[in-house]
């Protein structure tokens, strides 16, 4: 939830850069590595200004060698540094996943808790702008499925700054997944609701806590990242029909705040999960299971999901837009739920 008091608005890109700069100023072990994070400031703007302030030693442009530099982050993190490392698009995890899920995520456990891996892996997600099937995926479920790494997905700049600060300070590896349409980069189109009041002073948003971003009594919408904004639009539309919608922004996938979801559904009795990631084996199924296995009796109707179909993401805008979740589909899902 946006608890900011000031009125200075930031984009998520700026919020991420500000959190990073503030932590770098007070902790010399924090440094950044990735492709085009230096003078360019990151393809998605989230390291802008850092190179000018901290220089090439601490803001390191890497070769296109993800296996090596993400593996290097694991090694540096275990040796007293706090690397922030960027995988430019989450779709590229294919070339370097071993460093991520077999080392970053497991070294702490393998060492019986003796080896810490305090690093942040930031990576962009999402499509909707016709970048084709290797540059548009979300893969939230893929990362959240694998034990040993925390996973956060902010929907707005306030949460992005607080989660980034928390991630950098965390003694565990954190995957920070930011959605391209929320970055506030004009060239990607911009979700206005993501650019919100963000305090200048450092603060944290607790990893593992969801936020109820809109309260309501009739229906619970659960989502993350860009999906939260679709839900808020759907809530508004349904509100005009007299339906009082509650919207839960998960913010973290690992740990997952099942309590907040269950409390909301216990109140409303109706659940729709909205996820831009693939339909099957993902976040939407996990949320529904978390409710159903806990208290199926609280459900007044079968839960539903509005997710990306189980197909590679097509390039043609007509096909891609048809396949993506949006507010209309959420409203339709509710109507179907009520006529069941």
């Amino acid at each position: 939830m946006n608890t900011a008091t000031g009125s200075r608005k930031l984009t998520i890109a700026r919020a991420m850069a500000e959190a990073t700069a503030q932590e770098m100023r007070q902790d010399p072990t924090v440094f950044v590595m990735g492709e085009d994070v230096g003078p360019l400031g990151g393809v998605f703007g989230n390291t802008r200004g850092l190179y000018d302030e901290f220089g090439a030693e601490r803001i390191r442009d890497t070769p296109i060698s993800e296996t090596a530099f993400i593996g290097a982050a694991v090694g540096a993190a275990s040796d007293g540094m706090r690397p922030i490392v960027e995988l430019m698009f989450v779709d590229f995890f294919g070339v370097c996943m071993d460093a991520i899920y077999n080392m970053m995520a497991k070294n702490t456990y393998f060492s019986g808790g003796k080896v810490k891996v305090p690093m942040v892996l930031m990576t962009s997600t999402g499509g909707g702008y016709s970048d084709g099937g290797q540059h548009s995926q979300c893969l939230y479920g893929t990362f959240a499925h694998l034990p040993g790494m925390k996973v956060v997905v902010p929907s707005n700049a306030y949460d992005a700054k607080g989660l980034m600060t928390a991630a950098i300070r965390d003694d565990n590896p954190v995957v920070f997944m930011y959605h391209k349409s929320l970055q506030g980069m004009g060239w990607l189109g911009t979700e206005k609701g993501a650019t919100v009041a963000t305090p200048e002073e450092p603060y944290t948003v607790e990893i593992g806590k969801a936020a109820v971003v809109k309260e309501g009594r009739d229906l619970t919408l659960v989502s993350l990242g860009a999906g939260v904004h679709h839900c808020l639009r759907a809530a508004k539309a349904l509100g005009e029909e007299g339906v009082d919608v509650e919207v839960v922004d998960l913010r973290s996938l690992v740990p997952l705040d099942r309590e907040t979801v269950r409390a909301s559904v216990a109140k409303t009795g109706r659940l729709i999960v909205v996820d831009e990631d693939y339909h099957s084996y993902g976040v939407s199924g996990e949320i529904i299971a978390s409710v159903a296995e806990h208290d199926p009796a609280c459900l007044k109707a079968a839960p539903r999901r509005v997710a990306y179909p189980d197909i590679p993401i097509p390039f043609a805008p007509t096909m891609e837009q048809w396949a993506l979740p949006n507010a209309d589909k959420i409203v339709d899902a509710f109507h179907q739920m009520m006529t069941q």
Binding site: I64, V95, S130, D131, G132, A316
Partner: protein, 328 residues
């Protein structure tokens, strides 16, 4: 190895065709994206990586290839697709996302597949090498003729798969050629800032294969190097690595501010544009006169214009077609 006169004119024509295509795409891409540049808008949304300046790499290599030979290209594929003989209408329609496109609009500009001429590409850096090696292996195992060529950027030579694929191809003596288009930049990162060696062809010695360097974006230099390498591969003598010093005359992608380029670099590159240079060479060799050039350029342009009209006049598939062709 010297090209024949026919080969010279063929290479020039392909370069002119490819460049005109890129220039037209550049204009069409910007439709709907002004005054505010938003990648999602216009008749060609998404990322667009233009190949202006890199045409010599494509034509010098593909001059030695037939339809049966395999080419695996990169995220910057248009010049290579043109030179490999990919159906131009279907290719342009794919770039527009239309039903008549190579894959009905499912792929887009980074995912062009034309099985008729054994062409494919991928948007993931370095991922051309494995499939090219595998196609070469397949030809060897099936006893079928044909060689495979993987194109990659100099940035991709720092990916793990570059080293794995070179070793694999060498140890199995595969009929494959690896062609590095060295345009000196990986997005905003200069080659010398990311690469431990000044020239990647020297890396071939680590994998016991010939490494060849072509300087100055020289069309006939590429032709000669590729000719030797491809003949060697056809003859069962195994792989070759070639690095070509080329130039990226456009941004990394459309919308790139290119602030990272040193002052004057772009102007310098433009003054060495390989197409006017090659044109001059052909004029001086008497292979071309002004009238013949005008005719050749006009025909190449008309081919591109026809492909663009074809794409523009085509429909999109119905949106539900997104669900089709996941499996065969």
């Amino acid at each position: 190895m010297q090209p024949t006169n026919d080969q010279r004119l063929w290479m020039y024509r392909q370069m002119v065709t490819s460049r005109h295509l890129e220039e037209r795409i550049e204009t069409l891409y910007m439709e709907g994206k002004t005054p505010v540049f938003n990648m999602a808008k216009g008749p060609i949304p998404g990322e667009m990586h233009l190949s202006n300046g890199q045409e010599p790499c494509a034509v010098g290599v593909c001059a030695h290839l037939n339809a049966e030979d395999i080419v695996v290209a990169t995220h910057r594929p248009h010049h290579i697709a043109v030179a490999k003989g990919v159906d131009l209408n279907a290719m342009v329609a794919e770039i527009f996302g239309k039903a008549t496109g190579l894959s009905g609009g499912r792929g887009g500009h980074m995912h062009l597949f034309d099985a008729a001429v054994n062409f494919s590409c991928s948007g993931i850096i370095g991922e051309s090498l494995g499939p090219a090696a595998g196609a070469a292996l397949s030809r060897k195992m099936q006893g079928k003729p044909g060689v495979a060529v993987a194109f990659l950027g100099e940035g991709a030579a720092n990916q793990g798969v570059f080293h794995e694929a070179l070793n694999l191809a060498a140890v199995w003596k595969l009929p494959v050629v690896f062609v590095i288009e060295d345009n000196a930049w990986g997005i905003s990162v200069a080659k010398q800032a990311s690469t431990a060696v000044p020239r990647n062809d020297v890396r071939a010695s680590g994998y016991n294969m010939p490494g060849v360097h072509v300087a100055d974006n020289d069309v006939e230099g590429v032709f000669a190097a590729a000719g030797t390498a491809i003949a060697r591969a056809r003859d069962g003598q195994g792989p070759t690595l070639i690095e070509i010093e080329t130039s990226r005359l456009a941004g990394h992608f459309m919308g790139d501010g290119e602030d990272y380029r040193p002052e004057g670099e772009k102007a310098g590159l433009q003054s060495r544009d390989p197409i006017p240079r090659y044109r001059q060479q052909l004029l001086e060799a008497g292979l071309l006169d002004e009238a013949a050039d005008t005719r050749l350029v006009g025909e190449a342009h008309e081919r591109v214009e026809a492909a663009i009209r074809f794409a523009q006049e085509s429909d999109f598939l119905p949106p539900e077609a997104a669900l089709e062709t996941v499996f065969v």
